[in-house]
Symmetry: C2
């Protein structure tokens, strides 16, 4: 028997949401169902009847997961309040619409953190209201937006969130004059990069990188074992990918024979890719930066000074300092002898909060 | 009345030493004088009779400072043990030799952390032994070496410790194509760089930097106020420094009309410079790196990607990755939106510990 206020229930729902996978077409969502209010004080703690979260595309949504728990345990949710991190969907996809399931189940109040910006799944709040369910949204919206930052950016914009990964010397080289580049960064930095691969939907490189480095582009752990989730491997460029290239074997592989950034992003969006990790090389990185198509930069820097070699990025047309945008630093971290700077190119595009904000 | 073991007294002496200035020709030294042993147990705590530290060239050495305190307070140090972070000097400079003062004062035991490697001041242990004083050295030698790392490197080698400071974009540029460079790093990074200036004996730039940026090269606090200690400003290169250059006014200024790294270092060593901060530009940085004359790198990196511009360092002759040495990372720190990596090019040259090591 556990009692939570609405606010605490939303924080719990956010924690539950984060248990779901960061990758995949669907957002991370959590749901806590609270017993009907027995006190006129809206901040009074209420009994938790059920909770659930979404475990990835093809599995039940968070609301359905919580309702299924209640049904299995014989718990009546009539008159209950569903606290959900994202507006319940109004869409029959691989699972039925959550808005209908909540109303059918007898839930009379729904409290939402973030409204669903997608045309296909949105409209759940309107549907619920049409069924007489009270819906408020905006509770802990900052946290909800932070949790879903990547997904929201991708679905609001209609193109994947792009993270550019670079691994350079202190003076900005990704390889020496003779092309040697293994390894600039040490094992801890490379392992960290693999943990990022596990969180994305796709990894992208140019054909030049395939021809030079012949990378596998799989997500592996420190012992080299492949991770259960393998992102789509995407090779961009007009040159042919050799039949024996490692990127062709193992996980899924896609070759986009274009240099057009918008075309690449639209091809990936059509495949429900929400987050693509751009791992190189300099040509592709330069094209994406020049097109202002990078959302986040993961810059791994090794304590080496090469003096000359292959530069991480080519000309972006900046001739004076103020031409170059200053990124927003998120974190600076030491990884072995290397360091990692995570920075974003622009703030999250905020959604429009519902006027009936709770907090 | 405070009692300390020999080991704790050495730790105290190291703390006292660190109160002295990091700059200047003399090392930071601390001294604790313990009462004669009353127990046969060498690890028994003993009463502190006096303590002292060196406050910089021209002021009493740590041992003299402690002895002066004892004399003023009427404390008899006959039979006492002096715990000193560095071997007492045997040299009459601006102050008299400490070894003689300790023996004259009746001290019968001297415990030292680090032996003095200098020809001019060393020999104190031999002198003390010739006066019948027992001398042991090597207690907490690691900490003693760490405290005096810069000074020991400089005096053992006979040339100043060189710290290279760089302030670059993530892709290794110190200025844009048009030469604009103010500011790549933000205020917290620039303030940090000023705290480093306060700890060095000299700041060095090339004539190119003087002609381009006209820097003052003074050590200032956040409000722009100059610090009490101003390092010598050194300009290196054959071009003339304009009469109105800011570097000519204010603190001391030196123009070395040479491009020869060894000549520069020997000129600075002749002026008792132990620590020189190399602040640019790329030509001078490249010359010092190519000559393997850099001991430490302070790399400030801003979250910007320029794509092209003025590179921080030119060719060092490295054509393959293994040609470039990997620096030893000391620390990684976030400073506002920027980051600072401190790394060393080589381990400290260890002195030869005295065979009579205590620990």
């Amino acid at each position: 028997m556990e009692y939570l206020t609405l606010d605490a229930a939303m924080l719990r729902a956010l924690e539950l949401a984060a248990r779901g996978p960061a990758y995949g077409p669907n957002p991370q969502v959590g749901c806590v169902i609270l017993a009907p209010a027995t006190s006129p004080d809206p901040t009074a703690p209420r009994l938790i009847l059920a909770q659930g979260w979404h475990r990835g595309a093809g599995t039940p949504h968070a609301e359905a997961d919580a309702l299924a728990y209640a049904a299995t345990a014989g718990i009546d949710v009539t008159g209950a309040t569903a606290v959900v991190t994202l507006e319940p969907c109004n869409h029959t996809g691989r699972t039925g619409p959550c808005a209908r399931a909540l109303a059918d189940g007898g839930v009379t109040d729904v409290v939402v953190s973030v409204s669903d910006p997608t045309a296909i799944a949105g409209g759940g709040a309107d549907y619920l209201r049409s069924r007489g369910v009270s819906v408020t949204s905006g509770l802990r919206q900052d946290r909800g937006e932070a949790l879903l930052r990547v997904w929201l950016t991708a679905v609001r914009r209609g193109t994947p969130y792009v993270t550019l990964k670079t691994a350079t010397t202190l003076d900005g080289y990704v390889a020496a004059v003779d092309g040697s580049s293994r390894w600039i960064t040490g094992a801890p930095a490379r392992e960290h990069a693999h943990t990022v691969r596990r969180r994305v939907d796709a990894i992208m490189v140019g054909t030049g990188t395939v021809l030079t480095d012949d990378p596998t582009l799989t997500a592996r752990d420190a012992s080299g074992e492949p991770h259960a989730h393998q992102p789509l491997r995407v090779v961009v460029g007009r040159r042919a990918v050799p039949p024996g290239a490692k990127v062709r074997s193992g996980a899924e592989y896609l070759h986009l024979r274009t240099h057009d950034v918008a075309e690449v992003l639209s091809e990936l969006a059509a495949r429900d890719i929400r987050h693509v990790l751009l791992e190189g090389g300099p040509g592709l990185a330069t094209a994406f930066l020049a097109a202002h198509a990078v959302d986040e930069v993961h810059a791994y820097l090794a304590p080496m000074i090469l003096g000359e070699g292959r530069r991480v990025v080519g000309s972006l047309g900046a001739t004076t300092l103020s031409d170059a945008p200053r990124l927003d630093t998120v974190s600076v971290e030491r990884l072995g002898d290397d360091m990692l700077l995570v920075a974003r190119t622009r703030p999250v595009t905020a959604g429009t909060p519902d006027p009936s904000v709770l907090t």
